[in-house]
């Protein structure tokens, strides 16, 4: 590889890094001050790109029109961010952090549909930047002028942000709030104004990042989740709350990605490695490495001690299996009551499987205090393991379903080793990174997984071919799995996990090796999610990489949060409501996502303890009166 081509790729990487830096800086700023992980940040980026596209069309493809459109998009998206803060987040700052996450996720759904309604599903290719549409020759390589402009804009923006943060009163408040939010409030600063302002700036940065990509990247509806995953990686690598960190991380990742493309397929130690295929995972690899070496990112600091809000969460009583058995039996009878309703059977099978999936995630999120953004990795791995074992290794389906959870558990054991070294948001983002790696491997390993097409013909043997029989099998296995997980929560092991969450200091002081227990819990949760995944594969007959996608992971997250983290049975209610609602809405309207998002928002604003948690609280309030 010549120096010239290295330079060309370097410039390309730097140009790509500049937008990434803006999104990540906005995300970081918002998280630093408000402690909200804004899942909708990628959506704001996407909207920025769309708004810029339409504004250019309106103003005309002149330099003034182009740069005017970028300014308009920045301001519009900033205002939208402020609006989201005022209308939604402000109302739930006192709710658990995870609820804010759920709310921003609902915003993702709504924005996606709004974009679909306004701009349609087709990709929109923006104009070249007027005046910067040519290329410059550097060492015999053609480099777009616009790329060079982007490379200049990013550091200028960093300088501007740095000046704003260090030289203005507003910046001093932002930095103070990042270090100690309560103290800033105690000093009489109007937190509302500060938070709204920070959301405006953070969102505007995302909008700007998106708008600037207009000549480089077609606007499309898949950008939101793709960008948020990238932005997570950049913020975490750079260190949450550190804007220079985001800058360095964006450049690091942009450059590493560019080099992977430049390297193409190389032979290393006799192995053919396709570096260009590696681009999908390389940023996540960088992140995993950085986090293991520097758990709080390159320039990050350990998170400030958060004062407890005085929230006391106790574990409800252990569900009594004698009470649940009739319920399960009743469910088993449904196929007799409605023998012709195939749709109902499919729905019930899905709910049973996703309940197990959600309960296994809840074990991590609730009692263990580890939030996973990437639980679908184990679901997907097991689904593929089961399908491959049957189709390629020719094992009987029963054996494949029995083995698959162990494969998922083993993968979770490997990922978990890294993850339990971190906590809180960092842990969550590392799980997301691992899930994304898993997804990419599945997506690209054509010969084994069928790549983007997935695998078909994953059908159970004759005795399970009847949908009813398969439903019964699923029901029994999932109920058993859930029962075992619940029982575990009340065992000494489950209590020890909760001890580690309640007070790591005390847990260590009574001889509990919290990290080891968490590691084991991680693997266990992965294995049970895997059982769900394996059953899912054979219920559908075909599988695709979707099963390990971010969307699948967030589905589980939403189910748990919807049901209520601090309950036991909540995840099941969440899984049932989620699956049913999604199905109903998807059948009725093209815009089911936004309706679904609005439902989630309504639930979050009305029941900050989740549905089951909220009902339990209502019940406690009503009971003494009756």
């Amino acid at each position: 590889m010549s120096f010239a081509s290295i330079l060309a790729q370097l410039l390309n990487g730097l140009a790509g890094a500049s937008s990434l830096f803006m999104v990540a800086a906005g995300l970081s700023l918002i998280f630093g001050v408000t402690r909200v992980v804004n899942f909708a940040h990628g959506s704001l980026y996407m909207l920025g790109l769309y708004v810029a596209y339409s504004t250019v069309e309106f103003l005309g493809r002149t330099p003034l029109g182009f740069w005017g459109a970028i300014v308009v998009a920045t301001i519009v998206i900033g205002a939208l961010g402020a609006l989201i803060e005022i209308a939604i987040l402000r109302r739930i700052y006192r709710a658990p952090e995870l609820f804010q996450l759920l709310a921003t996720f609902a915003v993702v759904l709504v924005i996606k549909d709004v974009a679909l309604a306004i701009w349609g599903a087709e990709e929109l290719v923006g104009p070249r930047a007027p005046g910067l549409s040519r290329t410059v020759e550097i060492m015999g390589r053609r480099v777009p002028q616009y790329d060079l402009a982007l490379i200049v804009i990013a550091p200028l923006l960093l300088l501007g942000l740095w000046l704003a943060l260090t030289r203005t009163r507003w910046g001093a408040l932002v930095r103070a709030a990042t270090q100690d939010r309560e103290m800033v409030g105690a000093l009489g600063v109007d937190e509302r104004k500060l938070f709204t302002g920070v959301f405006f700036v953070g969102a505007a940065l995302a909008g700007l990042g998106g708008a600037l990509q207009l000549p480089r990247e077609p606007a499309n509806l898949g950008l939101d989740l793709a960008v948020i995953a990238d932005a997570f990686v950049v913020t975490v690598v750079g260190g949450l709350g550190s804007i220079p960190g985001a800058f360095i991380a964006a450049i690091l990742i942009g450059v590493v990605k560019a080099f992977c493309i430049a390297l193409g397929t190389q032979s290393v130690l006799g192995l053919e490695i396709s570096f260009s295929k590696l681009t999908l995972v390389v940023e996540f690899l960088v992140m995993a490495i950085v986090l293991v070496v520097r758990p709080y990112g390159l320039l990050g600091r350990p998170p400030a001690q958060q004062r407890a809000v005085g929230e006391i969460t106790t574990l409800p009583n252990m569900p009594d299996w004698r009470r649940w058995l009739p319920f399960v039996a009743l469910l088993a009878l449904i196929p007799f009551a409605a023998p012709d309703d195939r749709y109902l059977l499919v729905l019930l099978t899905d709910i049973a499987i996703l309940s197990l999936f959600a309960v296994s995630l809840h074990v991590l999120m609730g009692p263990s205090g580890m939030v996973s953004f990437g639980h679908a990795a184990y679901f997907g791995v097991a689904a593929y393991a089961a399908a491959i074992l049957m189709r390629k290794v020719q094992l009987p389906m029963e054996v494949a379903v029995a083995v698959a959870p162990f494969v998922a558990g083993a993968v979770a054991l490997v990922y978990g080793w890294f993850c339990v070294r971190l906590s809180g948001v960092y842990l969550a983002m590392l799980t997301l990174a691992f899930a994304q790696i898993t997804w990419s491997v599945i997506f690209q390993w054509d010969s084994l997984t069928g790549g983007s097409n997935g695998l078909t013909g994953v059908w159970p043997p004759a005795w399970l071919a009847d949908k009813r029989v398969y439903f019964w099998l699923t029901l029994v296995l999932c109920a058993l799995g859930i029962g075992l997980l619940w029982r575990m929560l009340f065992s000494p092991f489950g209590y020890a996990l909760r001890a580690g969450r309640d007070s790591p200091l005390r847990a260590e002081a009574i001889g509990i090796d919290v990290r080891r227990l968490q590691w084991f819990a991680f693997a266990l949760a992965g294995a049970f999610a895997g059982l769900g995944g394996a059953l899912f594969a054979f219920s559908k007959g075909s599988i695709s990489p979707e099963l390990a996608s971010i969307a699948q992971s967030t589905d589980a997250l939403v189910m748990v949060l919807l049901g209520g983290v601090e309950t036991i049975t909540g995840p099941i209610a969440g899984a049932a409501i989620f699956t049913w609602l999604k199905d109903e809405l998807a059948r009725r309207t093209e815009y089911w996502r936004s309706v679904f998002g609005l439902v989630i928002l309504a639930l979050v604003l009305l029941f900050p303890q989740g549905v089951v948690g909220g009902l339990a609280m209502l019940w406690r309030r009503v009971r003494p009166a009756s």
Binding site: P492, Y495, A499, R506, I510
Partner: protein, 257 residues
């Protein structure tokens, strides 16, 4: 005199240029209550955190029953028989008082690997007995998160006694409590320690508590051990008086000229 339970020799720790703990040596024997006192910034907490494994030491030795424990993790030191209470109570707030004690008992008996038995049914009587000793038995079913601070301190004491410790480390056991409660709590800790032949090392700011219950006192100032001995001797020590003069904390109105 019996062999010391805890033996600290030449312990030292510096943060940057500050010698937080500088060549400190002392011993504690079974059944003895040793108070570690000194003004703010004297190095008490640093010293404590090295003993219980939360901080590494720059130099020196810490021996528990003759065994070198310096550099061990807190949980390993606990397994050797060291109970602890914290300056700011650390309990499992989502669990009941009894369950807090049960956790310590379960951990002590290596019972935490069990995935299918019910935690709240294990070692129940034993937990109640311990709670009875600290006067918290009636509150066994209450959740720790709702308890008054003084009660939490008692729970911590019961938790600390669950592994039959040879040594009890109490960091400011009465901080944040009302004066009457303080005397009561310390009297309870003292009687439990004597009855079980436990060696106790505690730091404390309340001199009434210190002089009422300590068998011996060691005094730290700017990282160095400046005096040790019986309470009366320490009280009369001119160096100690000099350190505490002006604060008035030690002698109240009796400040000698």
């Amino acid at each position: 005199m019996s062999a010391p339970v805890l033996e600290v020799a030449g312990l030292a720790k510096a943060f940057g240029g500050v010698r937080a703990v500088d060549d400190v040596s002392f011993t504690v024997v079974a059944g003895e209550l040793l108070a570690m006192i000194g003004p703010n910034g004297a190095g008490k907490s640093t010293c404590f955190n090295m003993l219980n494994g939360q901080l590494s030491a720059d130099a020196g030795a810490v021996r528990l029953l003759g065994r070198d424990v310096l550099g061990m993790k807190p949980r390993a030191i606990w397994r050797l028989g060291v109970g602890r209470t914290f300056q700011i109570t650390a309990t499992f707030t989502s669990m009941t008082v009894r369950e807090n004690v049960q956790m310590a008992l379960l951990s002590h008996r290596h019972g935490l690997g069990s995935l299918l038995s019910r935690a709240s049914a294990r070692h129940r009587n034993e937990a109640d007995a311990l709670l009875g000793r600290v006067g918290m038995r009636e509150q066994g079913d209450r959740v720790c998160g709702v308890l008054a601070y003084g009660d939490l301190k008692r729970v911590e004491l019961a938790v600390a006694l669950a592994n039959d410790p040879k040594l009890l480390l109490m960091d400011e056991p009465t901080a944040g409590m009302a004066p009457k409660e303080r005397i009561e709590l310390m009297a309870l800790a003292a009687s439990l320690a004597r009855e079980r032949e436990v060696a106790v090392l505690f730091t404390e700011h309340d001199m009434d508590v210190v002089f009422a219950h300590a068998d011996r006192i060691i005094v730290l100032d700017r990282g160095r051990l400046i005096a040790q001995g019986e309470p009366a001797a320490v009280r009369a020590d001119p160096q100690v008086q000099a350190v505490y003069l002006g604060s008035g904390a030690m002698f109240g109105h009796e400040v000698p000229a």
